[in-house]
Amino acid sequence: MQTKRTTFSSKWLPYALLAPQVIITLIFFIWPSYQALVQSVYRQGDAFGIRPPTFVWFHNFQALFADDLYLNSLRTTFIFSVGTTVLSMGIALLFAVMVNRMIRSRDSYTTFLVWPYAIAPAIAGVLWWFIFNPTLGILPYMLDMVGYDWNHRRNGNDAMIMVIIASAWRQISYNFLFFLAGLQSIPQSLIEAAAIDGASRMKRFWTIVFPLLSPITFFLMVVNIVYAMFDTFGVIHATTEGGPSQATTILVYKVYRDGFVNLNFGSSAAQSVILMAIVIILTVIQFRYIERRVNY
């Protein structure tokens, strides 16, 4: 495709127009990334400047993969990401299918379902903190009636379920919008043809609608995994702070904790570099396969 070439009167104007974005990228992305890369191969000096930072090659990385806490955090992150993605996409798809059946009330339902997305993650975290609070929350109270003793402060599984729900909740809105748009782009005549071909409602969904949604599903899967791994710091910080006994310490939270609480900058930087590599891999997967996975 040919794009129109704009001619600027001044030679500097295009650079000036690009400058804000370039400067922001340099200051908030390139520079910290570079710092993290450098720090990840150093052992930090002491706080008084007596012992200077020493170059330790990949010692920080080796130490990480020998550390049970880090491996445990990897596992936690995996469970958390998969849980959040499956939950938020599943519920969003269900909502989208139901709203898509409405005719007149479709727009109002859509508006209500998108609202949660406008709420800051930390606020959402506090909201869920209240709902799940073992002493005054409504959910533990109701669970107690059916004989379940909910306490996410003691029980790691409870804590994990809580952060998954709290993280998925916000993402449902986002996924819902995409699924709804996807459903609306499927021609009605396909569903009608399938109905005439003798497929039941469930069968029509699984053999026609769901396969046609697969490009969107794949796109959302990558977006949601990235969200769960990197954007859920606020939720975890506001609810469990990674506890109890590190049961909800996902990688991003561990970077923060090791770096800013425990002040182990070398290890923290090495963890950031690993996270960076994961993001790059996920992005590459998304860009490379999103076109190919479109199966029609």
Binding site: P187, L190, E192, A194, I196, D197, G198, T207, L212, Y296
Partner: protein, 350 residues
């Protein structure tokens, strides 16, 4: 194989919007009925009511001996060819054809045999492994046909299946669909807005306007004796000329219109019923000034104007005459070729 009976069928949408009113059609076993009308006349709604995609709010619909008003589309034993083909884009041609059979629990060997048989009939055998997007418009059309006939349903429903094809392919597919339908002798209901398609394909055609039947009959009945001014104007190209009777009296000799009923205040003349031959017995003559001559190869269209009348007339001749524009020409027409209508009701008067 089955007949289809529509008894006082009607459709009223929520909010009292009327789409179809009082439709009575009996389609015989193996017959091809074409529903034709302008867009918004309710022809597609009627077809979708037969398919079960729209609920029936009035009347009874029978396919074979069963009343099917309340049945799901799948239970009506019909197959439909959609305007946009509605092929499943993620499935191969084979699976598109096999989908309906799989859903109905056919054996694998049986499915295989039926799909190949249908594919051979439609000459799409070499495309069975392809996806619909790898096919041309005509090939997709064939696959859509194949999906309909592979199940051997009681009736075929066609919803403007040719309107997405280019002119040449449309004529070709028109012939193929008609030949196939005759060979299989499957009861068919075919919707189109193209009057030529309707005339050429139908055993009987139904002209619909504003949700009502204007006329039902064989193509030749409808063409030679249009029941209303709407049908007269819709069927035939160029359209029938309509002149008020009082103007006609000023153009032709007094006794020429004496055989027409007195209520006939609108006279229709088909463009091809006029000829340049001198008037013989039982013929009348009529003169007009030639405004424009449109030669079209094998035939020509002559546009005439008359003294003191705003209406113009089109004449279609089976040759291109040696005449000059601006000259006055005299045409003859058989008296029985005049179509008398009542201007107020739009009905033909006899």
């Amino acid at each position: 194989m089955a007949s289809i009976n529509m008894d006082k069928l009607g459709k009223v949408y929520a909010g009292d919007v009327r789409a179809v009113t009082d439709v009575n059609i009996d389609i015989a076993d193996g017959e091809m009925i074409v529903l034709v009308g302008p867009s918004g006349c309710g022809k597609s709604t009627l077809l979708r009511m037969v398919a079960g995609l729209e609920t029936i709010t009035e009347g009874t619909l029978k396919i074979g001996d069963r009343v099917v008003n309340q049945l799901e589309p799948a239970e009506r034993d019909i197959a439909m060819v959609f305007q946009n083909y509605a092929l499943y884009p993620h499935m191969t041609v084979f699976n598109n054809l096999a989908y309906g059979l799989k859903n109905r629990g056919f054996k694998k060997a049986d499915i295989d045999q039926r799909v190949r048989q249908a594919a051979d009939m439609l000459e799409i055998g070499q495309f069975l492994d392809r996806k619909p997007r790898q096919l041309s418009g005509g090939q997709r059309q064939r696959v859509a046909m194949g999906r309909a006939l592979v199940r051997e349903p009681a009736a075929f429903l066609f919803d403007e299946p040719l309107s997405n094809l280019d002119a040449k392919l449309r004529v070709q597919m028109r012939v193929e669909i008609r030949q196939l339908q005759k060979r299989l002798a499957t009861t068919s209901l075919y919707v189109t807005h193209d009057q030529l398609e309707a005339l050429t394909m139908a055993d009987r055609l139904v002209v619909l306007n504003a949700g009502r039947i204007e006329q039902l009959g064989t193509p030749m009945e409808v063409y030679s004796r249009p029941a209303t001014t709407f049908v007269a104007g819709f069927i035939g190209s160029p359209a029938m000329n309509m002149l008020p009777a009082e103007y006609m009296r000023g153009l032709v000799s007094a006794d020429s219109l004496a055989h027409l009923p007195s209520k006939a205040d609108l006279i229709g003349i088909r463009p091809e019923d006029l000829s340049l031959e001198p008037a013989k017995e039982n013929e009348m003559s009529l003169s007009g000034r030639l405004m424009l001559l449109e030669p079209a190869g094998a035939e020509s269209h002559l546009h005439l104007a008359f003294e003191g009348i705003r209406e113009t007339m089109v004449v279609r001749l089976p040759h291109v005459p040696e005449v000059t524009e601006g000259s006055t020409l005299t045409f003859s027409i058989k008296r029985e070729k005049l179509h008398p209508f009542d201007l107020a009701t739009g009905q033909r008067v006899t």
